[in-house]
Symmetry: C2
Subunit: 461 residues, 2 copies
């Protein structure tokens, strides 16, 4: 007689076609959270997921309103009081798609080519939504029960910094109470088995610079009216010195330096991760290496990047205009122990100091999130690592990574939960045109997760 794990895996293997079909349906919904135009699509996406959760046997599945995009909750709590309870986290919102013209197939018309499923969100992070649901379906369909108690928590605001999903967590501590958070905004690549266990914090901001109260002809007023685009240049130029060090006073004050062991481990793992990281960078030379080696700078030092500038005439040809205003968008990545509120304040004060009697400068802070360190070991990660061992014969390398998952800080700081990466994937071009997930790796990650759920009952028991 075969084991529950084998039964569930057999189910998953037998249903790959229908799993793919549902995946494509999910990916065809343009759930772009940052653009208000798509608000109804986020609702539609959430409804679609809730229906699927109900269908596979999760209880109390529902869309719950926030002041922004809805969160999704569902549960299966019949494993027994002696079994651990885990929250599963993923996000159903996706990044914008521009530049649209660089996509080989439309971003919301999922297309399989060479074993890769191309669509916006295929990797980031509908793989996490779909991988978890298909894992749970495989177990429930074959055993009628789960080995641990599960709460599903999916949000629709990760790409905008979880402005209302984060307070939702604080307001629903009882509902979300659990022994561990399984964090599925990450991947699984059997050829490069790695578990990222850090996430940088993030602040996003928009700076607006206003000069004359209407656009002016630069022939008539050039030289005597201060041009907002020139002030935008002065502000941006001042952010970094020539080495790449951020110049805002106090910016690095709270940065905790890596200790010797962390640093040695980081440089050691970069020997493995480095070649791919460098190959995918699209550059011949990295920047700022005189400050710190690339892996340190990419994961364990804060950043400040301008992500977009707007102002003046941007069409073809020329227009001799001094624009009335100009603006730019900024994101900052934070590391332990930087406090997002403090850094946001430093940034705002610094940028607004460029105001003068010829120029107004204002700063809007859009999101603020803490850096987090996830479980580097412990019982929940042990269950994940045993899944790796079963699948590929070895444990995953634990690596520091530089991205951000804003809501994790809330779970860690407010609920004291160990955060455990449980990835599905692998994929590429997240946040870029032609995002894809490798289907072979995606299906394998479901098998790995089936194992992990059973192991959680043991390691956390």
């Amino acid at each position: 007689m075969s084991s529950p794990i084998e039964n569930a895996i057999e189910y998953a293997q037998a249903h790959r076609d229908s799993f793919l079909e549902g995946y494509q349906e999910l990916l065809s919904i343009p759930s772009i959270s940052t653009d208000p135009t798509y608000k109804a699509e986020l609702e539609r996406c959430a409804d679609w997921i809730v229906a699927e959760m109900t269908r596979i046997g999760l209880k109390n599945s529902r869309k719950m309103p926030t002041t922004g995009h809805p969160v999704i909750y569902g549960e299966w709590l019949e494993a027994g009081g002696d079994k651990p309870t885990v929250v599963i986290y993923a996000h159903y919102d996706v990044q914008p798609v521009d530049p649209l013209n660089l996509w080989e197939t439309p971003p919301f018309e999922p297309s399989v080519r060479d074993g890769k499923l191309y669509a916006r969100g295929s990797a980031d992070n509908k793989s996490g939504i779909w991988g978890n649901l298909k894992t749970l379906e495989s177990i429930l369909a074959t055993e009628g029960r789960l080995p641990v108690n599960v709460k599903v928590f999916f949000e629709g605001e990760e790409e905008t910094g979880s402005p209302s999903a984060a307070p939702f967590v604080v307001a629903h501590k009882d509902l979300l109470a659990a022994d561990a958070l399984m964090m599925s905004d990450s991947g699984f690549d059997p050829d490069h088995p790695m578990i990222g266990y850090t996430a940088r914090g993030i602040i996003s901001a928009e700076v607006t610079v206003r000069g004359p109260d209407h656009d002016l002809h630069s022939g008539g007023y050039g030289g005597v009216v201060h041009n907002p685009l020139h002030t935008v240049g002065k502000i941006i130029a001042s952010f970094h010195d020539d080495r790449g060090r951020i110049q805002i006073p106090g910016y690095y004050d709270e940065v905790r330096e890596l200790d010797e062991e962390e640093r040695a481990q980081l440089l050691e793992t970069y020997k493995i991760t480095g070649p791919e990281f460098e190959a995918k960078s699209g550059v011949e030379h990295f920047w700022g290496e005189s400050i710190a080696p690339v892996p340190v700078r990419a994961t364990s030092l804060p950043t400040l990047d301008v992500n977009g500038i707007s102002g003046g005439y941007q069409g073809p040809g020329m227009k001799t205009v001094i624009p009335s205003e100009a603006s730019f968008k900024v994101t900052m990545r934070l590391v332990p122990n930087q406090d997002p509120a403090k850094i946001a304040e430093l940034f705002k004060n610094y940028v607004e100091s460029f105001a003068s009697d010829t120029m107004q400068v204002s700063v809007a802070i859009h999101e603020k999130a803490w850096p987090v360190t996830m479980a580097g070991d412990g019982p929940s990660l042990e269950a994940v690592q045993r899944g790796y061992e079963d699948m590929i014969g070895r444990r995953a390398l634990r690596v520091r990574v530089g991205g951000s998952i804003p809501i994790l800080g809330m779970f860690q700081r407010e609920m004291g939960m160990p955060i455990t990466p449980l990835g599905y994937g692998s994929g590429e071009n997240v946040h870029s045109p032609n995002e894809y997930v490798r289907l072979d790796h995606f299906f394998l990650s479901i098998e790995k997760s089936i194992r992990t759920f059973y192991y959680l009952a043991e390691t956390m028991g």
Copy 2:
């Protein structure tokens, strides 16, 4: 028996309704020269004007091809060899219309409100096209002949620096040979009678900065991949020091300082022109006054203005991207004796020096035009001033102005013609939303021009 001047004026006054109707028809053609999308509209506009020229009795009226937008030529050369020949210049192309949402009525649906005709091009410079044609029509319709020989030369590239109209002039010196150029890219305001007699030169350029070969996620690569938007900031910030002086080495080397008399006259006329100039600026404080007084800086010193920046995500919300490239547009205004070719070379070398092993920087120069000084006195200007005297009882103040009319440098340097401002207007918001021309001033300027054409026969005789 009434005089020819009186007859023509009577005709002009009797035909104001049909003059307005034709004006509106001309203004409804979106002849935006800088945007290739509108190429066919430029052709349509030229055809429309040629038909009108033929209708009113000009000879050999035709559209003549260039490598860019067509020029328009027509003539009436039967005044006799003892009469002077003048070339009339205006341009039928217009500026782009964005930001479109700030227009109270659509820019190409001409609308009369409070005696003002609102439309893109109503002042700059279809007033010059239409004012001249209606002046010539009024004389030809009543007298059957003109008092001087007239060549009409209208171009469709003024707003893009006349890249192909300027070489057209050099290639057609015989066709365009004349005793004076009447320059109608200027206004007429009986309440503030002024004649601008300078035009700054212009260079327009576009700078492109390229970093990684594809867009990157700033979470993964922030801090280690040099961000093109940061280099854009560094370049723009370096253009001016804090006083507003341009920092490109050698930029001011050839600038001819105003002599004592010019400077005194400029400051004196600014007492008259200043209040309006300041009121229309939309600012409370001017910039760069520690370098030179406002009127000197606005007319007699070179400038460098960034007119637009593009790069990264510009939609609503945030996108955590390091863009592969970014760009910005620049125009520089030049004064005697700056050589546009030399300054363009200085600019290009300076900006390209920001290239590094992490960033490519390239500069495209789009247009180059010489600064010009027009007739400050002499027989052709005398005819214009007598027109002012007849209409308002006094002569116009001659003022230095800061704008550019690129093709004038060709006429002045290649053909040695005195350039004589013959304005129609007055209007506002040229290059901005809600451009308009005051209809009362427009109709009066036709009467003034009728007088000027008759006086040209005397003063230049």
